[in-house]
Symmetry: C2
Subunit: 124 residues, 2 copies
């Protein structure tokens, strides 16, 4: 398990079974038994994946002996999202366009408000 949290998160996510477990938990909390069902791996193997996810802070597990529901904790994923933000401009020019569009719409909104009051003719 890497020392820094972002590395720990990325390391935990670098496995398709662990991502599948997260995808299931995104639907709601559930037991280890239910989580294990779709996978053709042993119970201990599932438990090991859960421990990795837990150590990375991506899930928490209840402490009751019989019913230990697992629940997703989104904070580390939010950190990944923040980190990705530095690179999003490489593919998401639409973010800029959306910003421009909002400004345009808001501009129109204001101009129309003024025109309505002053009875000016429409320019846009």
């Amino acid at each position: 398990m890497p020392n820094d949290r972002l590395s720990a998160t990325f390391s935990a996510l670098a496995d398709p079974t662990r991502r599948a477990i997260l995808a299931r938990l995104a639907l709601g909390e559930t037991t280890v038994g239910e989580l294990a069902k779709p996978f053709k791996i042993s119970g201990p193997a599932v438990s090991k994946h859960l421990r990795v996810l837990e150590q990375a802070g991506l899930i928490v597990r209840g402490r009751e002996a019989q019913w230990r529901p697992c629940r997703i904790v989104p904070d580390p994923l939010k950190e990944v999202d923040g980190w990705l933000g530095h690179y999003r401009r490489f593919w998401d020019a639409s973010l800029d366009r959306l910003g421009d569009y909002l400004q345009q719409l808001q501009g129109k909104d204001k101009r129309r408000g003024r025109k309505k009051r002053k009875g000016e003719s429409r320019r846009d």
Copy 2:
């Protein structure tokens, strides 16, 4: 190196030095020598990190013997962004609100267009 691309990407990102290299490359392509300067690790260690990034498709390296500029390739990061999309609702309620706001504005826009043509009274 994991078999599936998303795992390979996460695995490559699970190291602070490799993320620092990507951050430098986000500013523009540069040589291995320039990339190595800020790190207190050997040239071969930097080269090894670059190989991991290259194998994960996160960077490409020029083929010229003397001048082998490294360049970031955003596609794998875009895939991570897409994957994160399934979880973004856990922290980004503002996305929903933005969508609602856009619909509201567009709705107003359409209604105003109709009213202008038909001379209807304002309802909103």
